[in-house]
Amino acid sequence: MNMTDYIGALPEFLLLALLCVVLLVGVFSADEDQNAAYWLAQFALLAVLVANTYIGARTRFVLFEGMYVRDPMAVVLKNFILAFAIIGLVYARDYLRARRIVSAEFYVLALMAVLGMMVLVSAGSLLTVYLGLELLSLSLYAMVAMHRDSAMASEAAMKYFVMGALASGLLLYGMSMLYGITGSVDISVVRNALAGGGESPLAAYALVFIVAGVAFKLGAVPFHMWVPDVYEGAPTAVTMFIATAPKMAAFAMAMRLLVDGLQPLSLDWQLMLTWLAVASMLLGNVVAIAQSNIKRMLAYSTIAHMGFLLLGMLSGSTGGYAGAMFYAIVYALMSLGAFGVVMLVAGEGSAEADRIQDFKGLSRRSPWFALVMLILMFSMAGVPPFAGFWAKWFVIKEVIAAGHVWLAGLAVFSSIIGAYYYLQVVRMMYFEPPEHVEEVHASGDTEIALSANGVAVLLLGVMPGLLMAVCIAAIRG
């Protein structure tokens, strides 16, 4: 262990230090809106983003004797996690203030979750994976329960916690078996041991538990039960937080465990992921049609999107992993904007605007943000020229290159079903007369961030090449 180890993990140390400061500021601040904590949290994220970019990584560095990995994929994903967390906090602030659930702890927990994601993304050993995952998950459980007076939020937190703990248990069980077979928790050692050991039924057994854990974090069918309840029950700001950056972290976890660690068993896990992907795409898209609550609808849409992401993973090629990474980033960006608009429509009062009906006539109340939501919805449906189209295009291309044309056909078929419910939102906004007359307003920084978010989805759709190249380079290492 030497100095370079610490420099490689400097962004994480910096974040840890700053989040302690935020906690202290929150304790000693008398401000009800916790402005100091908010700005400090934003500063912390920005500083870590700068540090992370500045340190960078051209190739793969292994730190702390294999516990920690800093490679191009980790740097890119961390940057996006941090950037989306910054935008997410901007959106969340108005919402939390209006509902009087703002507290310094929210910001501390958010930073802690980001830290957990960063650890997860850089995990080089099974233990680090678990550490990062738990840091992330426990912060999220607490954030869901933040709204103490809401019975729904408490119920959602309880469900999330119980299901999450079970999934963590499964994952840990799988890891312990891997340790039993290979005698190490270091992911690269595990890989080499499995590659040399030939087919082992015990390894396949361990794999099942690992895949279950990963599928739970992604929210893939049949480990998806928590998603709709948590999305609906949690305060929208928290839902947005769960629906964005953690998906990128979950992708990284899948990469570290399945691709880096269990590559020798790739034929087995590709088959498992195939069925998870098929079930997720079909069930997610079909059930989403029946939803009248937009948060619940977006939850099922997430499930379907994660099915698409798995398509990239199961292709088993560099291009496929890059496609999945591109998908995770684009999905997080779209989801961020969509929940941003949901919070915007909810407005200043304490009421939620989580029924699809609440979007009626938005194009008259706010032509610009209706247009932003239109871009986001068509993007999620996979219609060009928006970013979501390229995400689907990328993974479907890789699936075909891997020889699964039938799977590509099934995927596009499910996206037709999916288009229906995204169209319903557009329909409410544009075709129906408004129920309320007042215009939709938010604070200046929210409006700017949300506009930029929508424009980014459009620009990424017109010029997707840059991000695609970044993802490919990141996966190649």
Binding site: K397, A408, I416, A419, A469
Partner: protein
């Protein structure tokens, strides 16, 4: 002039203009928005004319080519170019859009700036579809087009607009996503997204069959062929007049264009294999849908069914190639059939667009599309009645109108493919005359049906200009179709040559 990237201008001028109208128009007076939109659309039309004057008639090569790297990692290029098949369709697009902008002038009151923005963006995307030479670029334009059309039908449409808009979107989306899978498969086989490279790629018969089905889903829905035509009557009827015009005049042609650009040259053996099915479906469309049109009570619905029937002619002309080659052994008949199909597409663009505008003129005054609500319109609107007469005649394929040229060529070609095909195709002349003239008689002639009709005022300058421009086009191409046929000759000959050459490895 020749150094300008004309195709890019014809795509991006209306798109950026439309975006500008969308952002600047919210607080601008409606008249200013309309004037801006008119200027943008007229400018686009003017920029598309040098495409014709500078076009080299002697070659089937792509002209006005522009090529820039777009997504370098996958070798996707911003590659534009036109041949004799795309050129007439592009000019049809820019021409029709000007008329559509004019047609909405007094009618559209609600959110007018969004209406005009949608049409301008749509125009650019449609030109993009016809000009794209990269399959992915083509697909992006092809799909993106659905968004403005969805909004146009859903916001400014009739009573059942929501149903029609969603049905329109899902139906066409359903078709095109499978085409995407097909295109990606072709990339996987050939390593290129260039459409022209795909034309040369050898493919096994099984792959060709599947690819044909994938393309068929996209293009047959769009054109539309029986039995996947059901979205069209709904969309046409519920769309505002401008939307119906664009749908009929241009969007349907994209299906035909797709067959010409993708199905026939990329999978000739697959097309040959399914040729019987295509001919049968075309004949069903011509005859059966002709009968369906006969019993319609709604004018727009009647014209919509007439469109499907006429598009049956187009697909018949395109897919007779194989049969004619078998029977006569010469390419001459095949070229004639394909040229007929192309001419029919252009002519139908003018005629059906004009008919929808005529219905729009009546609808603006009476707010009814029911044939039964009218009668004796000629007494109050003589100018309108005479112009409509011309379009109605063109729709029946009367000689000296553009409708005649295409139908005549296709029937002549089908005579070389077999008596019964020619016979069934020729039935359309009877049926077409029956449903169109009968509608005309019920609406225009007879005694004045009610007070509302008695109170009608005749068309004003604006409407006279729109219908007059279309009347000139219809007569011009009817009396002197040579310029149109000359433009497409080299490309069609080259295409027929490609189609009859097997691509089996």
């Amino acid at each position: 002039m020749s150094n300008l990237p004309l195709l890019s201008i014809c795509i991006w001028l209306p798109v950026t203009g439309g975006l500008w109208v969308l952002f600047a128009g919210a607080h601008a007076p409606a008249l200013a928005v309309k004037k801006e939109s008119l200027i943008i659309s007229v400018a686009t039309l003017l920029f598309s004319i040098p495409l014709y004057t500078g076009f080299d008639l002697s070659t089937a090569e792509m002209q006005f080519v522009e090529r820039l790297p777009w997504i370098a990692v996958f070798d996707i290029n911003y590659h534009l170019g036109i041949d004799g098949i795309a050129l007439p369709l592009i000019i049809l697009t820019t021409f029709t859009t000007v008329l559509v902008v004019l047609a909405g002038w007094e009618v559209v009151q609600d959110r007018a700036y969004q209406y005009y923005a949608a049409f301008l963006i749509l125009e650019g995307l449609m030109v993009g579809v016809f000009a794209a030479l990269d399959a992915i670029l083509f697909y992006v334009f092809w799909e993106a087009m659905l968004i403005p059309m969805f909004i146009i039908i859903g916001v400014w449409g009739g009573k059942r607009r929501v149903y029609a808009a969603v049905k329109f979107f899902l139906y066409t989306f359903l078709g095109s996503v499978f085409m995407l899978v097909g295109l990606l498969y072709l990339y996987f086989k050939g390593g290129s997204f260039e459409i022209l490279d795909m034309h040369k790629l050898p493919l096994a018969l099984d792959a060709q069959k599947w690819l044909f089905v994938a393309f068929f889903l996209a293009f047959a829905v769009k054109i539309p062929m029986w039995p996947v035509h059901t979205w069209l009557p709904d969309a046409h009827v519920e769309a505002p007049t401008g939307g119906s015009v664009i749908l009929a005049a241009i969007m349907l042609k994209m299906g035909g264009y797709g067959f010409l650009r993708f199905s026939l040259p990329i999978v000739p053996d697959g097309s040959h294999y399914f040729e019987g099915v295509m001919v049968a479906l075309s004949l069903i469309a011509i005859v059966y849908i002709g009968f369906v049109a006969l019993v319609q009570r709604d004018m727009k619905r009647l014209i919509a069914y007439s469109s499907i029937s006429h598009m049956g002619f187009v697909t018949l002309g395109l897919f007779l190639v194989f049969r004619i080659m078998q029977h006569s052994g010469s390419a001459e008949g095949a070229i004639m059939g394909m040229t007929g199909g192309m001419v029919q597409m252009i002519s139908h663009g003018f005629v059906s667009g004009a008919l929808f505008l005529c219905v729009g003129v009546l609808y603006d005054r009476m707010h009814s599309r029911e044939i039964a609500d009218y009668g004796g319109v000629v007494n109050t609107m003589p100018k309108f009645a005479s112009l409509t007469m011309l379009f109605v005649m063109a729709n029946c394929g009367l000689p000296a109108t553009s409708g005649f040229v295409g139908e005549f060529l296709v029937i002549l070609a089908s005579a070389k493919a077999g008596f019964w095909i020619a016979f069934l195709a020729a039935i359309t002349l009877v049926l077409g005359a029956a449903y169109t003239l009968w509608m005309y008689k019920r609406v225009i002639f007879g005694a004045v049906a009610n007070d509302a009709v008695a109170a009608l005022r005749d068309i004003g300058c604006r409407e006279q200009f729109i219908l007059g421009a279309l009347a000139i086009a219809v007569l011009l191409f009817g009396l002197w179709p040579a310029p149109l046929i000359d433009v497409m000759r080299a490309s069609v000959e080259n295409l027929v040559l490609n189609v009859v050459t097997s691509k089996l490895p």
